[in-house]
Symmetry: C2
Subunit: 205 residues, 2 copies
């Protein structure tokens, strides 16, 4: 099965712009991507990169500057089965990915917070994606519309996409590998806030 990782090479992670410079956001997004690529390889699959602009990574690469939904559907139209795994899932482990990849249904969804779809497997030739809005609900409905069976992967790790400052705490609590190492290096630390734990930046960051 093909495993494709979409990546926004330019202007990544804009909702972290109150915490990181543009250059830092580029570095951090690439560190998260490296986490995801490594976890896919450890799960026994060879990842492919679907990127909006060329980046230097030792992985088969498709450059497609169109919007995410269009670029992913171009792949789904020509091949099946295909897994689509977002690049901002630095908590993804080989075990969590294997759970997704090995589920038997025609369409398998790993929901993200806020109604998103963080990863999916499409084995039905007529299934298409739409990443706008509550894509998880739309994908579930879309799968049923084309007569595909639907599986849901109930994973905290795959459900944790990193978009905002508060999300960085999840990387520090649960993460290993490149994204965690990058946060450590720039001095991002856990801090106890009112309620859930948050992050602050100290030292040489």
């Amino acid at each position: 099965m093909r495993v494709v990782v979409p990546f926004a090479a330019e202007q990544p992670k804009t909702r972290l712009d109150d915490f990181f410079t543009p250059a830092e956001r580029r570095e951090f997004s690439r560190a998260m991507l490296d986490n995801v690529l490594a976890a896919i390889r450890e799960s026994g699959h060879e990842p492919e990169l679907l990127t909006t602009a060329p980046i230097e990574r030792d992985v088969p690469t498709i450059v497609d500057e169109r919007p995410l939904t269009t670029a992913v559907n171009a792949i789904l139209e020509t091949d099946s089965p295909v897994a689509i795994v977002m690049a901002d899932l630095p908590l993804a482990t080989p075990a969590a990915l294997a759970w997704l990849f090995d589920a038997p249904e025609d369409v398998v969804l790993a929901p993200g917070r806020g109604g998103g779809t963080n990863a999916l497997v499409a084995r039905h030739p007529d299934f298409r994606v739409d990443y706008h809005g509550t894509s998880y609900l739309d994908h579930r409905e879309g799968a049923r519309r084309v007569g595909a069976s639907v599986g849901i992967v109930d994973s905290f790790r795959l459900g944790t996409d990193i978009d905002e400052r508060a999300d960085l705490a999840e990387v520090l609590v649960h993460g290993e590998g490149a994204a965690r190492a990058w946060l450590d290096r720039v001095g991002v630390r856990l801090v106890r806030s009112d309620g859930r734990v948050g992050v602050e930046r100290t030292g040489n960051g």
Copy 2:
């Protein structure tokens, strides 16, 4: 195995005070509790309520007005094995709870967002809880300190505790049962915001 659900009967869910009145917060917290109690029963266990003040529920009840950590440790000191499942997990399903209850390790943890521990099983007589700060990391370390094996349940549903306005979207996307019905009744609806989907309040709320 005993399955204990701690519940803050007074002043519940204070971080929702920008969205709900105190009376509404009490209603909503009880609706979430009913979700959790129902899911535990459907998983084949009889829940017990550990509440800071008496409330009307048809379930064996311990009233203990001490802080959460103290009250839970009083139970862990006298009995084992015990499961502790938080009352603000309206996405909890019998399947997700069975995964927790049936894991073989001495201490099994279901992490919540922001470093919390949303549910756990303690089978080791020396394990104690501390719910302050990054309790997930503290519990993992505490289990190792007493020589207990540690299992982690990677569940999006058990990881989703409902504390803040943004969390309500998860109930509307993934929830069924009492909490979802209550949100529908007071007119809380999904709304597409910049990034993840959020909620707004309309109608007769």
